[in-house]
């Protein structure tokens, strides 16, 4: 098993709101990212995956907890001390239309990392930028164009080029393909995969689209309302699903295959995702869980291996699913036993 590149240790991130309340975006998350792997972070609105990603990249200051990169606690670093580390941890953003400055030329945008860190200037920088453009599949002659003159997929390639300029060790991809057409998504996914192999990159891949995450990830963490509910190698997450939320997520995912669509169980969760300012007591999922019992409302389950799972497969649930268990007929029972 490879060395740990990034370690998240009981991180919490809270945002104050205009009223006295506080949004608990990340409510105590611990995980590790190993060198060379792709860790998928998946979840729905309000699960905190984007906030967690930004805490990992130290774009947000954590409310509590720490983030260790290559053995150093980066949450304690000042902005100045953090700067050299920024070469090693990069981010690819979701919105190809918003993450590029519309008033700057593309060559200048991709060249930013070189000028910010005083690595190259003038013609040398231009050369490096054009190499990067070719690397990601853009025409280097378009160096002087503006973002508006590129398509969504091409803009995302520009974002990738910018992120890779300084050969980072860890790249955090925040929904990198969600805003793209399906046929273009595949192009970008392939590109990311090729670059990972060529440059020995480690990815944290965030998405709400479970089918994409499944395709790219070695391990997947499923998040709900600020906490990780299940963390496992990809195959085990799908083949040996333990957490009811994961199972519901999987069953809700539309599959482009009529036979499967017709035959599979549909678990329709009731209600909405609760508010992150006032999360449910105990297990945060218990209000919508088909298997909820009384103790689920009292105590928070710990993320740890359950049943006969290996140590890499961790679930936060008091009543994890067995393989083949039919959840569509389950009924919650919150009465005292």
């Amino acid at each position: 098993m490879n060395e740990v590149l990034l370690k998240v240790d009981d991180v919490r991130k809270e945002f104050p709101t205009s009223s006295k309340e506080v949004v608990q975006a990340v409510a105590g998350v611990s995980l590790e990212v190993r060198k060379g792997e792709t860790l998928g972070l998946v979840g729905e609105t309000g699960c905190g995956k984007s906030s967690l990603a930004r805490c990992m990249a130290h774009l947000y200051d954590v409310t509590s907890g720490s983030v260790w990169f290559e053995g150093r606690d980066i949450t304690k670093l000042s902005r100045k001390a953090m700067r050299p580390l920024r070469r090693d941890v990069q981010v690819i953003f979701q919105d190809p239309y918003g993450s590029l400055n519309p008033r700057r030329r593309v060559g200048s945008i991709i060249g930013d990392p070189f000028s910010i860190h005083n690595i190259a200037s003038g013609n040398e920088r231009k050369k490096k930028v054009q190499e990067l453009m070719e690397l990601v599949g853009l025409n280097p002659e378009h160096y002087n164009r503006f973002p508006a003159e590129f398509s969504g997929g091409q803009r995302q390639r520009i974002g990738v080029a910018r992120a890779l300029a300084l050969r980072p060790k860890l790249v955090i991809c925040d929904e990198p393909v969600s805003a793209l057409d399906v046929s273009i998504q595949a192009q970008i996914i392939n590109l990311l995969s090729d670059l990972q192999q060529e440059f020995d990159l480690t990815y944290v891949f965030i998405s709400h689209d479970l089918s994409v995450v499944r395709h790219v990830s070695d391990r997947i963490a499923v998040m709900y309302l600020g906490k990780i509910v299940e963390l496992a190698p990809t195959g085990e997450l799908f083949g040996q699903t333990r957490h009811p939320y994961t199972r519901a997520l999987l069953s809700a995912l539309p599959v482009a295959d009529p036979d499967t669509a017709d035959s599979r169980e549909q678990i329709i969760l009731g209600g909405d995702i609760p508010s992150a300012t006032n999360p449910p007591a105990g297990c945060r999922f218990h209000t919508r869980c088909p298997k909820a019992r009384l103790d689920c409302a009292a105590e928070e389950p710990v993320l740890e291996p359950v049943l006969d799972d290996r140590p890499e497969h961790r679930t936060a649930c008091f009543y994890p699913l067995t393989v083949g268990e039919d959840l569509s007929t389950a009924v919650p029972d919150l009465r005292a036993s």
């Binding site: 729905e44 609105t45 398509s151 969504g152 997929g153 091409q154 057409d181 399906v182 046929s183 273009i184 998504q185 595949a186 192009q187 996914i189 392939n190 995969s193 709400h208 689209d209 479970l210 089918s211 994409v212 499944r214 395709h215 790219v216 990830s217 990809t234 195959g235 519901a248 997520l249 069953s251 809700a252 995912l253 539309p254 599959v255 482009a256 295959d257 009529p258 499967t260 669509a261 549909q266 329709i268 969760l269 209600g271 909405d272 995702i273």
Partner: protein, 325 residues
């Protein structure tokens, strides 16, 4: 005769950069009580087509016909269209936050819509109906929530409110333009479930516009695949997935993430500009099977002798087994 028969719809816009030919000869039928999925990526023209049919596009040059229950919607005057919209044709859009008026209560908006079409109904009766509708779409405590504002509902709830409004007058046809694209996947499942239930209960026909082939597999009876403003392939659901013909359909299916580890097979290149469309087949530049005849635009022809399955492609129309996932 089908509930809605669209023949050779063409829509173009004049812009400073040139004429955008957004829809170029679209024809389809929607049968009563059935769901037609219109699939396409951005620039395919799918949204423009349905908006034009209901008279909601401005400044466009339109030709073709769209017969809804005997009336041609394309040539109908605004008064007729207003009468039909809401009462006979319901519409749901992608972003419920922008389609619902943020400053009026939900109940009021539904009641106003009902009373705009039904001049005899009393306010109380309309309100009662509004509450019934909200319950029908699965909004808990409808009687209390009827006086809430749109911002007090979550995204999924708002979409259900939109469905309730669209269904208020029991329309024969519901047009849903990317109704679940902006929603979380578990919420999407809820909303699609509501739509299915309503269709079963009321026999409403649905035109479902989407780019998500998974949603198509779950909801559609018939499918139309659009690209660059024209129909590439049209077929019943199973045929589109298991016996498809058009390289674009195949490309779309092949580019979906299937099992992990396999390299994805994307479609090379990008969609063409609708201002300077190439002659011939619009997909030719990206097609792995392109040959010389493709410089002429291919007509829609039956696949395997089945008039319900048509493909706009010069490749021989023997039924192939599809490149399914």
């Amino acid at each position: 005769m089908a509930l809605l028969e669209v023949r050779d719809l063409r829509v173009s816009f004049d812009t400073p950069d040139g004429t955008v030919r957004a829809v170029r000869g679209l024809s389809f039928d929607v049968e009563a009580g059935q769901t037609l999925a219109v699939v396409g990526e951005s620039g395919s023209g799918k949204s423009v087509a349905t908006q034009t049919i209901t008279g909601l596009t401005r400044g466009a040059t339109v030709s073709g016909t769209a017969y809804f229950d005997g009336t041609d919607l394309i040539t109908a005057d605004q008064a007729t269209l207003r009468r039909l919209r809401g009462a006979r044709i319901g519409m749901i859009f992608q972003d419920p936050l922008s389609s619902l008026h943020p400053q009026y209560r939900i109940g009021w908006q539904i009641v106003e819509m009902i009373r705009a079409h039904d001049l005899e109904i009393s306010k109380q009766a309309a309100r009662k109906r509004a509450a019934e509708l909200l319950t029908l779409v699965g909004i808990p405590r409808a009687a209390e929530r009827i006086d809430d504002y749109p911002h007090q509902f979550s995204g999924g709830m708002r979409q259900r409110v939109m469905i309730a409004m669209a269904m208020a007058l029991d329309p024969a046809l519901l047009i849903a333009d990317e109704p679940t694209t902006a929603l979380d996947v578990t919420v999407q499942a809820q909303v699609l479930n509501v739509m299915r239930r309503l269709q079963e209960q009321f026999g409403t026909a649905i035109i479902l516009i989407t780019h998500d082939l998974g949603v198509v597999a779950e909801m559609a009876d018939d499918v139309v695949v659009m690209y660059a403003g024209a129909v590439m392939e049209r077929a019943p659901r199973r045929d589109i997935f298991y016996r498809n013909h058009h390289p674009y359909t195949q490309g779309l299916l092949a580019s979906l993430p299937a099992r992990s580890g396999d390299r994805l097979t994307p479609i090379a290149g990008a969609p063409p500009s609708l201002i300077s469309l190439p002659k011939g087949c619009p997909f030719a530049a990206r097609c792995p099977h392109v040959f010389d005849k493709c410089s002429e635009p291919p007509p829609l022809t039956d696949v395997g002798g089945d008039p319900r399955h048509q493909s706009a492609c010069w490749l021989p129309h023997n039924v192939n087994e599809a490149v399914a996932s």
